[in-house]
């Protein structure tokens, strides 16, 4: 027998792949009416177990599969965030999925596959493994977006996402092939050694720019964000909740590792593009959200804005910026999960509502939820002492220290504008005449997610090192390695 390649560092991914395939079998052979529940539970267990494996494998740089796959503190940090996002999305979707008759067992399996792709993306150490992870994720997401097959909005959003996503994947491959052509390798470590920053050829920079454009599409940064509002609004709400968190974090991880790893020395060449994308995202996120009446659409613009802030850290292009982004993403995860738990609870007489005005009078009809949502909105707006403020704080400081003053000031201005619509939601909840009260929050899981995320957002400032320490280690691992 031949010697097998090193695989242990990839054990969480290998486990998830096997588990997902096993779940397909389970789904087929279990009685149809139980299939969703059983598979969903299995998927949650598998994802949690994979999280355990991730922690077990641990940080410290380990390569696997001939150097195509790498595990370090950065990967562990991101993978834990992604797994939390996926698990929470599955927990939150339970009630909705069953009520809206989309409780087919493929849903949790697709989420698992998408998560597997994301984990691969985070650990990709080669342009090829990057692409494979990205496609596994994207293909699963296309399907999940149109999972409500009988809804025109859902299928339309899935189709749009697919067409544009295919375009961006093509662009990514084009960029990768240019990079390969002009550097002679696809491996990140070798690329980093080859590209030192002097006399970079045009073809290579064009390749990098195409890569950036494709990755910007995946994180939905302006001007490649066009799919976001439609998909957020059209996809079933639990899917949107999933979209808003895990894939964003994974794509950001990919973005960070690619840009700061192999192309780290060329920051002078690509930094300006990130700068521009970041500014455009922040401004569009702030201004376009004002007119929204659908809360899912609002969250789409809000996520575009948040990505703009996170990219601010990337534009800084140094370890401090990276740390800022990591903290930002962790806090983004906490907040967004909570907001979507609230959106998933916007149900009047067993019918989901999505308009912001439907929140009117929530302060009276459901004070606990209103307080939690208020905390989350303040946090989104970046008002201290909520967690969201610290997310912004660290990227702002990174931008200032990197002397990106214009970027920081535009960021400050757009966060002021952005505050307008977050505060508007609070105003509607507390000061508008109550409309119909919402139904009781459906599942224990949903209630739990809402409470935990609201509380974490409110009191995180007491123990910040809980997030900053791992983020610091993760950032150091990407730069130290």
């Amino acid at each position: 027998m031949t010697e097998l390649p090193v695989m242990m560092p990839a054990s969480p991914e290998i486990f998830l792949a096997c588990a997902a395939m096993a779940m397909m079998m389970v789904g087929v052979f279990v009685k149809a009416e139980n299939a969703y529940r059983v598979v969903s539970t299995l998927a949650i267990v598998a994802l949690v177990f994979a999280g355990g494996l991730v922690l077990h494998v641990g940080g410290g740089r380990q390569e696997a599969l001939f150097g195509f796959f790498v595990v370090d503190d950065f990967a562990v940090f991101m993978k834990v965030l992604i797994l939390i996002g996926s698990v929470v999305a599955l927990i939150m979707s339970e009630g909705y999925v069953q009520r809206e008759k989309m409780d087919r067992f493929e849903f949790p399996i697709l989420v698992t596959f998408a998560t597997l792709g994301m984990l691969m993306m985070v650990s990709a150490n080669d342009l090829l493994s990057l692409y494979i992870g990205l496609e596994l994720q994207s293909l699963s997401l296309y399907v999940v977006a149109s999972f409500q097959r009988d809804s025109i909005r859902s299928t339309e959003s899935g189709l749009k996402y697919f067409v544009l996503g295919a375009l961006s994947s093509g662009l990514l491959l084009y960029g990768c092939s240019l990079i390969y052509g002009f550097s002679g390798t696809t491996q990140f470590d070798t690329l980093a050694l080859a590209l030192t920053g002097d006399d970079t050829s045009k073809g290579l920079i064009v390749g990098i720019v195409f890569l950036i454009a494709a990755l910007a599409f995946k994180v939905s940064a302006v001007p490649f964000h066009m799919w976001t509002p439609d998909v957020y609004e059209g996809a079933p709400t639990p899917v949107t909740a999933f979209f808003a968190v895990a894939p964003k974090i994974a794509a950001m991880a990919l973005f960070l590792r690619t840009m700061l790893g192999p192309f780290g020395d060329l920051v002078a060449d690509w930094g300006q593009i990130i700068w521009l994308v970041s500014v455009a995202s922040m401004l569009l996120g702030a201004f376009a959200a004002i007119a929204q009446s659908n809360i899912k659409r609002l969250m789409a613009y809000s996520s575009i804005g948040h990505i703009g802030y996170a990219l601010m850290g990337l534009a800084a292009g140094n370890e401090e910026g990276l740390k800022g982004v990591l903290i930002y993403l962790a806090i983004y995860l906490i907040m967004n999960v909570g907001v979507f738990a609230c959106i998933l609870s916007m149900k009047v007489q067993n019918r989901m509502v999505e308009n912001i005005t439907d929140l009117a009078g929530l302060g009276k009809s459901n004070p606990a939820m209103a307080v939690l949502l208020m905390v989350l909105m303040f946090s989104m707006a970046g008002i201290p002492p909520m967690a969201g403020f610290f997310g912004k704080f660290f990227v702002f400081m990174a931008a200032l220290n990197a002397e990106l003053y214009a970027l920081a000031i535009i960021g400050a201005v757009s966060s002021v504008v952005g505050a307008f619509y977050y505060l508007r939601i609070i105003k509607i909840m507390y000061f508008d005449e109550p409309v119909e009260a919402f139904d009781k929050v459906e599942t224990m899981g949903l209630r739990g997610v809402m409470i935990v995320s609201g509380l974490l957002t409110a009191v995180l400032f007491i123990y910040l090192p809980g997030i900053t320490d791992p983020a610091t280690a993760a950032a150091a691992s990407l730069f130290g390695g």
């Binding site: 027998m1 031949t2 749009k160 067409v163 544009l164 375009l167 240019l178 052509g181 002679g184 390798t185 006399d199 970079t200 050829s201 045009k202 073809g203 290579l204 920079i205 064009v206 720019v209 195409f210 454009a213 066009m226 439609d230 060449d269 569009l284 201004f287 376009a288 004002i290 007119a291 929204q292 303040f378 707006a381 970046g382 008002i383 201290p384 002492p385 403020f389 704080f393 702002f396 400081m397 220290n401 003053y405 920081a408 960021g411 400050a412 201005v413 966060s415 002021v416 504008v417 307008f420 505060l423 609070i426 105003k427 507390y430 000061f431 508008d432 400032f461 090192p465 900053t468 320490d469």
Partner: protein
């Protein structure tokens, strides 16, 4: 002083801890509830008193607790004169408000909730003034916004209350964010977030290029909080809150937070022309504007609210002057204003409480009904007007004195004149508060009989008025506090000053006299002025605020409609344009280096082919609605591409390309059967133009890029050399392309045939599910029925395809066998055989052909994949990695010696897979055709059913013949 310093966090925490109790204790009664709110405040005051002597001696108390040590962030508190003054004001007035509110709030109001909010707010305010760390300060700053909005919105049933809370929240919240940014920039300049450190770095800050942005951002926050022009509009609207809240927030504390911050940052920010012109001018405008508006307000609280705006402007202006003496005056006025304004608000609340109205037009003569209230209100209002022997006089004198010396943009009279004007209106509205409310005849139309309230309610304002008089008569009692505080503001030595009533005949005294006389005069003609003022057009701030909000919404809607109208083609266009722009940017950024390769000579024939290629592509654009024509043009393009492969000596690619072309064109042709012949026109000419431009730009960009790349060399040697060297020795074949496919990259090929198989299965599954659903019904409905050719299975074609069949199979085998060394291989062979089979189906009809087809297509695909797989696994038994190939030579007589490689078994897998996939696709299409009403032929040569009647006899004979067979 470490030991005393530990009191600082306790002072800040005390109200927060205390906030937990009133809500719980309300069960035990209203008095107990008020007591539980008072106790923590009193405790905090006691602790502050313990600290006071040290501070008055000039010490700065500090306390530090690690928070985020890795970032150098600590929970730092410090207490100096400024902090002491403000903490004293906040807690002192806080306890008075707690007392007052106990009597003010009615039984229906949830008192516990009120005290909880109040204590939260109090804690946040104390936190602001004690923080030494910027971040900590910002946290407390925003907490005041939060808790104040809870307090303002406390009476939820009042619509104005809601409106007010919303505007207060928006303005101060957004201002706060701006300030956060400014403060962070400041911290960045200095490199520390500790205020004590920042305050020592004046030069570094003022020299920094970021000084102006930081200053502007911080000032926006301060102005928004302290209701300075142009943010002054929110304060009066917040007056819908209960009066104790107005008295606390809008006189003594929250609105002073902005002033506090300006005073705190005075040592590092003040003294520059920017500071002077921004701060002093804003203050001056606010002072005059607020005073004028206040005079014409009929609501008692609105009058007081605008007077507060005016006085805050006054203090801002003093801070803006940037001189130490002005700072002293500012500090002194902060104290005085807090005392008389809180008292005035409380008396206004008493009037409202007793007379059930706050409308000045409906009040009058209360002097007789409420003598105690009258006394308190009169003294406080006179102090506000700046009448001697009351404390307002002293600080106003100092202000006018400073204003008299101030030169604004070269004009020495502008500031003094406007300051006097402001003071004049200030006198007018103060007198109005006395004259129109308390003096005059007793009115008979009061809703209820007003009388002086219980002692509990007037105790608090009474105490404050005592202070007003005490300081007014004996200014020296306030001097130590003012001195320490001003020292802390200035951050250095103070010039000589003394607080006294008589300074001699100074310009300030004359200005003051003019103001008092003029004020009285203005009030006397108030009844004449008021209607004119009401009639005069003036910008209403609330409307402006609403208009701005509306404009923002409209702009935002326009933006989103323009960008996100849901049109996929627009999305794609933006995407493409962005990528092209980014690519252009990148192209200009890098080093190209000179082209290292010479372009090839262009011969005539390739040039013609190339022109044909371009022409066909353009033709597709023009005729794209005619699907059949497009298909033909596509075929031409494919053909030219395969010719190009031949031209560049790549026969394998050419063979593959041409056979793939044939198969896809045939399958597409069959699929076209089910589609309309012409696709509908969907886009307008304008849009087509846009799309054309974008597509043209994209095409040119890609072509240019390709051209540039073709002229250059890649970074490394091409891998071709390696393949050429090792193809024979390692893979046993001389056809490098085939060796690559089955050996070097055998694993890829293995994956690809699996994908091919899956694709065929998916086509099958999709067509099955389409047939089961709406699509199937549509097909069956016969709408597709278009004219058919007379001969479905023309004789000539049937004969030809059958003659060709063995030849094609032979060719397939030949191509397959030679594949390893010469152009050919399993993939091409599979396609060739598939084409031969497809021709049978087309010529003789599907049913006829399928009846003669022994192996089902699914099985063919599976066999192919398994053959490839087992070949790969076989390598394991030879101790080699998966898919390693081996080869040897065999001689089977009478054939020549030929090579047999395991790769050939693998190639068989490819071959079978390709055939199976193509045929399965064909099967799927034919099942659609059958659903669409196509009859199944039993015989090879069939004619259109429409002609059946004519050919009936022949048919029957044929059927009979078939049965016999």
């Amino acid at each position: 002083m470490e030991s005393i310093g530990t009191f600082l966090p306790l002072i800040a925490m005390m109200p927060f801890v205390g906030a937990l109790f009133p809500g719980l204790m309300i069960q035990a009664g209203r008095n107990v509830c008020a007591m539980t709110a008072a106790v923590p405040t009193i405790l905090a005051i006691i602790m502050l008193t313990i600290c006071a002597p040290a501070v008055l001696d000039g010490e700065v108390l500090q306390f530090s607790l690690p928070w985020l040590p890795s970032l150098g962030l600590n929970v730092n508190f410090f207490l100096d004169g400024l902090g002491l003054l403000f903490a004293g004001l906040i807690l002192g007035i806080g306890i008075l408000i707690i007392l007052y509110a106990r009597f003010y709030l009615s039984r229906q109001d949830p008192m516990g909730q009120f005290y909880t909010y109040l204590l939260l707010f109090q804690g946040a305010m104390v936190g602001i003034v004690l923080s030494d760390n910027i971040l900590l300060l910002l946290i407390f700053w925003e907490l005041t916004s939060l808790s104040s909005f809870l307090l303002i919105g406390y009476w939820k049933h009042l619509p104005e209350g809601r409106q007010g809370a919303r505007m207060a929240l928006t303005v101060t919240g957004m201002g706060g964010l701006a300030m956060i940014a400014g403060m962070l920039i400041l911290g960045n300049i200095v490199g520390s977030y500790d205020l004590t450190v920042i305050l020592e770095n004046k030069d570094a800050i003022q020299a920094s290029p970021l000084y102006l942005p930081a200053l502007l951002l911080i000032l926006v926050g301060c102005f928004a909080k302290s209701a300075q022009f142009p943010f002054h509009f929110w304060l009066p609207h917040a007056m819908a809150a209960p009066t104790p809240v107005s008295a606390y927030l809008h006189s003594a504390t929250m609105v002073k937070a902005g002033l506090f911050l300006m005073a705190r940052m005075w040592p590092v920010l003040a003294g520059t022309p920017e500071w002077f012109y921004i701060v002093a001018t804003t203050g001056l405008i606010t002072m005059v504007l607020g005073a004028v508006i206040a005079l014409f307000k009929d609501d008692l609280k609105a009058l007081l609210a605008f007077s507060t705006v005016s006085h805050l402007g006054l203090i801002t202006m003093l801070l803006g002057f940037g001189t130490p003496l002005a700072a002293v005056a500012a500090v002194f006025h902060i104290i005085n204003h807090a005392t008389f304004k809180a008292a005035l608000f409380m008396t206004a609340g008493i009037v409202d409480h007793e007379a059930h109205t706050r409308d000045i037009k409906r009040l009058g003569g209360l002097r007789h009904l409420m003598p105690i209230t009258f006394l308190i209100a009169m003294l406080a209002a006179l102090s506000m007007a700046g009448i001697p022997l009351l404390n307002g006089f002293l600080s106003k004198e100092m202000m006018l004195e400073e204003a008299a010396h101030t030169v604004w943009a070269g004009s020495p009279w502008l500031v003094p004149a406007l300051a006097t004007l402001g003071a004049l209106f200030s006198v007018a509205y103060s007198f109005r508060y006395i004259v129109h409310v308390f003096l005059g005849d007793v009115r008979q139309d009061y809703p209820s009989k007003p009388h002086d309230p219980d002692f509990g309610m007037w105790a608090a304002p009474g105490f404050l008025v005592l202070l007003v008089v005490l300081i007014g008569v004996l200014p020296a009692v306030a001097e130590p506090l003012v001195r320490t505080t001003a020292g802390a503001v200035v951050g250095g030595e103070l010039p000589y000053f003394s607080l006294k009533i008589w300074h001699g005949l100074t310009p300030a005294l004359f200005m003051s006299a003019i103001a008092v006389a003029g004020g009285a005069l203005v009030l006397s003609i108030h009844s004449v002025l008021a209607p004119r003022w009401d009639a005069a057009p003036r910008p209403e701030a609330k409307q402006i605020f609403d208009a701005i909000a509306r404009t923002a919404t409209v702009f935002s809607r326009w933006l989103t409609d323009m960008l996100h109208n849901g049109s996929l083609s627009r999305f794609a266009a933006i995407f493409a344009v962005a990528v092209i722009a980014a690519g252009l940017f990148a192209w200009t950024g890098g080093e190209a280096g000179p082209p290292v390769r010479e372009p090839l000579e262009i011969a005539a024939v390739p040039a013609i082919a190339w022109a044909l290629l371009v022409l066909c592509s353009l033709g597709m654009l023009v005729f794209h609605r005619n699907r059949l024509l497009v298909l033909i043009l596509m075929g031409v393009v494919g053909l030219i591409v395969s010719l190009a492969f031949i031209y560049f000596s790549a026969p394998d690619l050419a063979l593959t390309q041409i056979s793939v072309e044939v198969v896809t064109i045939i399958l597409l042709l069959l699929a076209l059967n089910f589609l309309p012949k012409v696709s509908p026109k969907e886009s307008s000419p304008g849009r087509r133009l846009r799309d054309g431009v974008v597509a043209g730009a994209g095409g040119l960009a890609v072509a240019g890029l390709t051209y540039a790349i073709l002229l250059g060399d890649f970074a490394q040697e091409s891998i071709s050399a390696f393949h050429l060297e090792n193809s024979y020795s390692g893979g046993g074949g001389t056809n490098v392309v085939n060796v690559i496919l089955v050996d070097f990259r055998g694993y890829d090929t293995f994956g690809e045939i699996i994908v091919l198989g899956i694709a065929a299965l998916v086509i099958y599954a999709l067509s099955q599910s389409v047939l089961g659903g709406a699509g199937g019904r549509w097909l069956a409905s016969g709408e597709l029925d278009s004219k058919k050719a007379g001969d479905r299975h023309p004789l000539m074609m049937v004969i030809a395809s059958r003659v060709m069949m063995p030849i094609a199979l032979m060719a397939g085998v030949y191509i397959f066998l030679r594949g390893h060394n010469e152009p050919g291989g399993g993939f091409i062979a599979g396609l060739v055989v598939a084409i031969a089979l497809v021709m049978q189906y087309m010529a003789s009809g599907f049913a006829w052909a399928v009846a003669r087809q022994r192996v089902p297509y699914h099985t063919t695909i599976a066999l192919g994949v398994m053959a490839a797989c087992f070949t790969g696994v076989g390598a394991w038994f030879a101790g080699r990695p998966f898919l390693t190939s081996d080869f040897g030579y065999v001689t089977i007589p009478p054939l020549e010696k030929f090579e047999l490689a395991t790769a050939m078994a693998f190639d068989i897998g490819v071959f079978l897979c390709v055939i199976g996939a193509v045929m399965l696709a064909l099967d799927s299409l034919s099942s659609m055709a059958r659903r669409a009403g196509e009859t199944v032929n039993q015989l090879p040569m069939d004619i259109d059913p429409a002609r059946r009647s004519v050919a009936n006899a022949t048919d029957k004979m044929a059927v009979a013949a078939g049965k016999e067979a």
